[in-house]
């Protein structure tokens, strides 16, 4: 089934709850291809940040990733095993998202381990998509984000955010040359 909105450009947004009345939950997935760069594929990491109206993470507990698989109230959960062709997925229970959360930002970064360094410029493709948690129908899909990446080691892919009573989704595609440290500084997190 074709998504409601395919090939969404950076900066474009869509009202998910207007397109799908009664929408209760989302799956946000990242689909990337690192080709033969196994060191890059091994270190690619997805993270989700629950932010207040000031654009900063509510707390350290509101950074959801493989080592902290859920936000405290369980509204956002990272799946240990992604399905449907995505490398990583999270589930968002929209009704359970705390009122003080204004934005849920989905990022990916290359973990800077002791081994060789890799950059996102080596990705062959990278796409973010949003599914309806009820039935897994694909709602939106971003344009190819890998083309404009070079020496960046982190990327804010998209965000699910409140707009009045609606939930909207926006494609960000914003790269960070300082990696996860740059993202942590932007969102007020301690590493």
């Amino acid at each position: 089934m074709e998504p409601i909105l395919a090939d969404m450009k950076r900066g474009a947004n869509v009202s998910l709850t207007r397109e799908v009345p009664g929408l209760r939950g989302l799956v946000v997935g990242i689909r990337w291809n690192a080709g033969s760069e196994t060191a890059l594929a091994d270190n690619m990491t997805m993270a989700t940040i629950l932010c207040g109206t000031d654009g900063r993470a509510l707390s350290e507990q509101h950074f959801v990733f493989f080592n902290q698989l859920a936000s405290p109230e369980l509204s956002v959960q990272q799946l240990e095993q992604a399905r449907g062709g995505d490398q990583e997925q999270i589930e968002i229970d929209l009704d359970a998202v705390p009122a003080q959360v204004a934005r849920i930002v989905v990022v990916a970064y290359v973990n800077e381990g002791p081994a060789q360094k890799r950059t996102l410029g080596q990705l062959r493709s990278c796409v973010v998509r949003v599914l309806n948690q009820d039935g897994n129908a694909e709602l939106v899909r971003s344009e190819e984000l890998a083309n404009s990446l070079h020496s960046e080691t982190a990327l804010a892919l998209g965000e699910v955010y409140r707009h009045n009573t609606e939930w909207k989704f926006k494609v960000l595609g914003q790269g960070y040359s300082k990696g996860i440290a740059g993202i942590a500084a932007d969102y007020g997190l301690t590493l």
Partner: protein, 316 residues
Amino acid sequence: MIADPRFAPKRTDLPWLRRRRLPKSAQQPPARGLGEFLAGRSTHQQPEPTPAPAMPPTPAAPPTPAARPTPARPPAVVSSSLDLDGPAAPAPPATPAPVSSSLDLDEPAPPQARPAPAREELRRKRVDVRVGNGERFITSPTEPTVTLTALQSGIGTLTIEAAASAEVGDLRLGCAYELADGFELTMQMTQGNRFAPPHSKRPIVVGGHDRFERVQLDLRQCRALKRLIVYAFSEKRQPLRWGGTLITTTHGGARIETPLDVLAGGDIAVLMSIYQVRGELVVRAEMQTLFGDVREVARAYGYDRINWLDGRTPVE
């Protein structure tokens, strides 16, 4: 000699240890308190002023003289269907001095009601020591432990470096580690074995030597690590003049510094242990010297699934 606990005589002086947790008010006979409450005679739990006597294992203990003076029972007991303190209570109401077996749930409450301390006060709190971005924490014998947050434990690389000059001697670092799957071994640069697991294309622990001896953890794989210890030794088996500082750095630049000049004697020293507890790395300055070799250190810290070629070389 320590007797076999299975055949040891029963301890009757520690009744509360048989519970999984300290009761809300350790000395309160529960049924009576509940009965009082349900019958509307009290508004809250009523702890007794004196500790309860030892609890004998046999419930059918005959009435014994009271071990301590207790206030008399309230004369008229109104029974409601929910009252656990019904009229069939064992203690005869006519007895002037009420009997007190320690299992007697019918213990009279003291006249003045004092609210029990809140549950939070009773629970002993353990506060984790944390170290923030760009902050520095110096471990000491009284505060040897720092707990890294889930983010600090899962992002980037954790670097442990022994900043020591030639004055100390040929100080080298090594690790004994246990992975989440139970695999145990050592990582020791001096043996040409600088990866853990050995020969891995994606090692979790990597030894190195830049300006100083160094051990690095790949935190993307922090969940695959159960625990490790970092030890220091002399490669040439010469005595070390312990000194310098062990510096542990997170990806965001938080630093834990452990002075090594407090070490004394021994051939080898365990400097640090790291345990992964539900995604958080608990970093502890061990600062323990001992005589022997890597084998003795590993055994002393319970890495007993490593077999040895000699005191320094494990069998892979």
